[in-house]
């Protein structure tokens, strides 16, 4: 083997070169890093977060966790309405949610899936504090001590907390409630709801659990727990536990109150299988429901199914977006091709002059061009006035050019035309004019020479321009919003509607994700055909 080549400093040449290369790479990356980080933070992460939102569904599990667990083994086929245990869990969840002012949000969320749930939640939220009142009365009738908030606080509060609470001087925040471990072990279900009560009382109402009588649902939970008491554990071990011991016998004689009947009394929709099926279907933390909705499907217990006929709008809207973008692209090709040809074949001085006519619209504010079309296309606008003046259109029969698909297509063709002309022009510029002359001198007619010789060479320009125009068109929002009326709007307008008006953000995110996928696919094609590096901006 030959002697290893050495660099001036005595290292092997190969290692030395590698080191230099590595340093060069590092330097390049260091220069790029700040921007990459910036784009990641300000752009890529927000988009990723939006995509996550399209499948995220934690609100149901977070707001009504007990109900979600209780509904776990409910089967709508064997039992049209869930049993009392589910209703009881739901009463507790709803009570907490109402106090935390979360129930309307959950109601709106479920309302996207089954309409009517929002008002059902609102209505029930106003009356849920009465549920379990029957038990409260019976407990209090049995022993008035049950009415005393201190009885409860002593039973369920941690010894250290009780001491700290007693020592609290009323300045600043009261020590946060701590659940006693013993109570939690012996009366887990009551302890769970009492702890939630204490927390809500302290954080939402700025009150003390030692001064507020627990909600009726806490009495409900205690009744349920004592009702199924089997002799273990020994409640007397709890501080002040004698009162439970006494009550434990008495609850056998309490008159049972049906929670289900109480809910049915608030609104008979609670006996509707569909409502409970919706809650059950949308219990998991992640859902494909928004994506199904965005293609006019809905999630049902039996798998995806079509939405009712009158609610199917998204496929139509996607289809319309595609068709209109395609129409705009084709119009741009038809109008852009002759102009690009002319620009590429005129002497440089004249071509530069004409180029200004193309570049000026390109540089002009989008809002300016849209306002111009809004003004021109009106029924009393310049175009209709001119047509009436010429006599092409009767004064009482003016053309409807705006607030429909026609308006969108005219205005967007105008706005996107420079994006077609510029790539076409740069491709045509590279086609030597001598090819056409050669074809003609070999006997081709003008048309043959153009169609067989010139046109095939200009196809890459058409491809580049078309993809560019199409990508821009399908994501357009402003122009369709202003000149499109109801028949000329795109999927983007629907996304904006869900973000700002209906507040169905998950659906907006899912629609956005689908649109993004289409655009990225086209972008990938564009990259393969033209290359990202070859994107040119207005000369």
């Amino acid at each position: 083997m030959a002697e290893q080549m050495l660099a001036a400093d005595g290292r092997p040449l190969k290692a030395s070169l590698n080191r230099a290369l590595r340093r060069q790479k590092m330097r390049a990356l260091l220069l790029i890093a700040p921007l990459l980080l910036f784009i990641m933070l300000t752009f890529i992460v927000p988009i990723g977060q939006m995509l996550f939102r399209s499948v995220e569904n934690q609100i149901v599990g977070d707001t009504i966790p007990r109900t979600v667990v209780a509904l776990g083994d409910w089967d709508a086929n064997t039992d049209p309405v869930p049993d009392d245990a589910v209703f009881s869990a739901f009463a507790k969840d709803l009570m907490i949610a109402v106090e935390r002012k979360q129930h309307t949000r959950l109601g709106s969320r479920l309302n996207y899936e089954t309409s009517g749930i929002s008002s059902l939640f609102r209505k029930s939220g106003r009356r849920v504090d009465d549920i379990g009142e029957g038990y409260t009365d019976q407990f209090v009738a049995f022993d008035p001590a049950w009415e005393d908030p201190l009885t409860w606080a002593t039973l369920f509060g941690d010894a250290d907390w009780i001491t700290a609470q007693a020592a609290w001087d009323g300045e600043g925040d009261e020590p946060a409630f701590v659940l006693s471990d013993d109570a939690n072990e012996m009366l887990p279900r009551t302890a769970d709801i009492y702890a939630a009560f204490a927390e809500v009382i302290q954080t939402e109402n700025n009150d003390s659990p030692t001064e507020e009588q627990p909600w009726n649902v806490v009495y409900l939970a205690l009744y349920e727990e004592l009702r199924t008491y089997t002799g273990e554990p020994n409640y007397a071990d709890l501080p002040g536990g004698e009162i439970i011991f006494a009550a434990e016998d008495a609850v056998r004689d309490f008159a049972p109150q049906s929670v289900r009947a109480a809910f049915a009394d608030i609104d008979e929709d609670w006996e509707d299988t569909a409502v409970w099926q919706t809650i059950q279907t949308y219990s998991p933390a992640f859902t494909a429901g928004y994506f199904l909705n965005s293609v006019d499907l809905q999630k049902t217990p039996g798998g995806p199914a079509w939405q009712p006929e009158n609610e199917q709008i998204y496929l139509t809207l996607f289809w319309r977006t595609m068709v209109m973008s395609l129409t705009i692209t084709v119009s741009c090709i038809l109008l852009g091709y002759p102009v690009a040809w002319m620009l590429a074949n005129l002497p440089a001085r004249k071509a530069n002059l004409l180029m200004i006519l193309v570049l000026l619209p390109f540089w002009t504010s989008l809002l300016v061009r849209t306002s111009a079309w809004k003004v021109l296309l009106q029924q009393q606008g310049v175009i209709n006035d001119t047509l009436v003046w010429i006599g092409l259109v009767a004064d009482d029969n003016r053309l409807a050019l705006i607030n429909n698909a026609t308006g969108t297509i005219i205005a967007m063709t105008h706005i996107l035309l420079p994006f077609m002309i510029l790539p076409l022009y740069s491709v045509m510029k590279t086609i030597p004019p001598s090819y056409l002359r050669a074809a003609k001198s070999l006997g081709a007619t003008n048309w043959t020479a153009f169609w067989r010789v010139y046109f095939p060479q200009s196809v890459p320009g058409i491809g580049a321009g078309s993809i560019l125009v199409f990508i821009l068109a399908i994501g357009y929002y402003i122009t369709p919003e202003i000149v499109g009326g109801t028949k000329g709007v795109f999927i983007s307008n629907r996304i904006a509607y869900h973000i700002s008006t209906s507040l169905n953000w998950g659906l907006a995110a899912a629609l956005g994700a689908i649109l993004l996928a289409v655009v990225l696919l086209l972008y990938w094609a564009y990259d393969r055909i033209v290359g990202i590096d070859n994107v040119k901006l207005g000369g």
Binding site: L21, Q24, A28, L29, L30, L31, I32, P34, L35, L36, F38, I39, T42, F43, I44, P46, I47, Q49, M50, L335, P338, V339, M342, L346, L357, V358, L360, P361, W363, T364, S365, L366, V368, S371, A372, V375, Q378, Q380, G381, V382, D385, H414, L417, N446, G475, Y476, Y477, I478, E481, I495, A496, I499, A508, G512, L516, V519, L520, I532, V535, L537
Partner: protein, 295 residues
């Protein structure tokens, strides 16, 4: 499309001239809507079409009242000020970070060059409505975080949010124009400077920067106009206090359209003509500096 040869047949002549007429009509379609709003903006009436007085060139049919409204009405002045606050800051961020990255990208050995390029260009590719949706969620949380932890006022975080969003949108334009300028940059010039003892910083500011400056400036103009003209993202990310000129125009167009919009549009057209002329001059200067075309 040069002059018609003397031996052309009648058919060829007809085609030659009708083709020119067609192209003329298409160019008319491109330019007319922009030109026509200029005289309309001087309308003395609150109409959006030419009044008989205007057509008769009667001076009484014309007035500057819509311009007066633009420059005196707070509904328009506030947005104009906001636009003039937001766009320069966004441009500075895009240009400084974008130029550095473009120089990095144009080095000969850059790992993952394609991937990095795709990420940096993405704000231009992703439809604005999707960017706006994503930013809407993320930036509102970020704004709340800044208000809670950094003690910023609501109005300040509002501006920061919009500026950051617009800077992100402007970056692809800076990257594209600056890398295009750097393609023609002769790397032996930096080596020559280094050879003569210049430090990398001196080389950058005294040799490289003056040569790529035209590209940087036109990238900056693109970034500026992107922010100045942007409405979708600001609509979602900004609050009413950050209402920009395009936002105000958009509201005006959607709700009650007032003829003042035509005066605003005319002013904006004048600005675009200025910008277009600047970019064109810079492009020629850049080509001359790099010896790509005769002076």
């Amino acid at each position: 499309m040069s002059a018609l040869p003397p031996y052309a047949t009648t058919g060829q002549r007809i085609w030659h001239y009708s083709f020119r007429v067609i192209v003329g009509l298409i160019l008319f379609f491109l330019i007319a809507p922009i030109i026509i709003i200029i005289p309309l903006s001087f309308n003395a009436q609150d109409f959006f079409t030419f009044t008989p007085e205007m057509l008769a060139l009667n001076p009484e049919g014309y007035s500057l009242k819509h311009y007066r409204d633009f420059f005196t009405n707070q509904d328009w002045i506030r947005p104009l000020q906001n636009s003039l606050i937001i766009a320069p800051f966004a441009t500075i961020i895009s240009v400084s970070l974008g130029t550095l990255a473009a120089i990095g990208l144009s080095q000969s050995h850059v790992p993952f060059r394609r991937g990095i390029m795709a990420i940096l260009i993405s704000p231009m590719i992703v439809p604005l409505i999707i960017s706006a949706t994503g930013m809407f969620f993320f930036y509102s949380q970020m704004g709340l975080w800044m208000e809670a932890n950094l003690g910023m006022s609501k109005s300040l975080t509002g501006y920061i949010k919009v500026i950051l969003a617009h800077a992100a949108l402007g970056i692809p334009f800076v990257i594209i124009t600056v890398t295009a300028t750097l393609v023609g940059f002769d790397q032996s010039l930096t080596r020559a400077a280094a050879n003569m003892g210049a430090t990398p910083t001196v080389t950058f500011f005294r040799v490289q920067m003056p040569l790529i400056l035209p590209g940087v400036i036109s990238g900056g103009l693109f970034a500026f106009i992107t922010s100045f003209d942007e409405v979708v993202v600001v609509l979602f990310v900004g609050a009413a206090a950050q209402k920009t000129l395009p936002w105000q125009m958009f509201t005006g167009l959607r709700e009650q359209i007032s003829p003042t919009i035509l005066a605003v549009a005319t002013v904006l057209v004048a600005i675009s003509i200025l910008l277009l002329a600047t970019v064109e001059l810079l492009r020629r200067r850049s080509e001359r500096l790099r010896g790509m075309s005769p002076a």
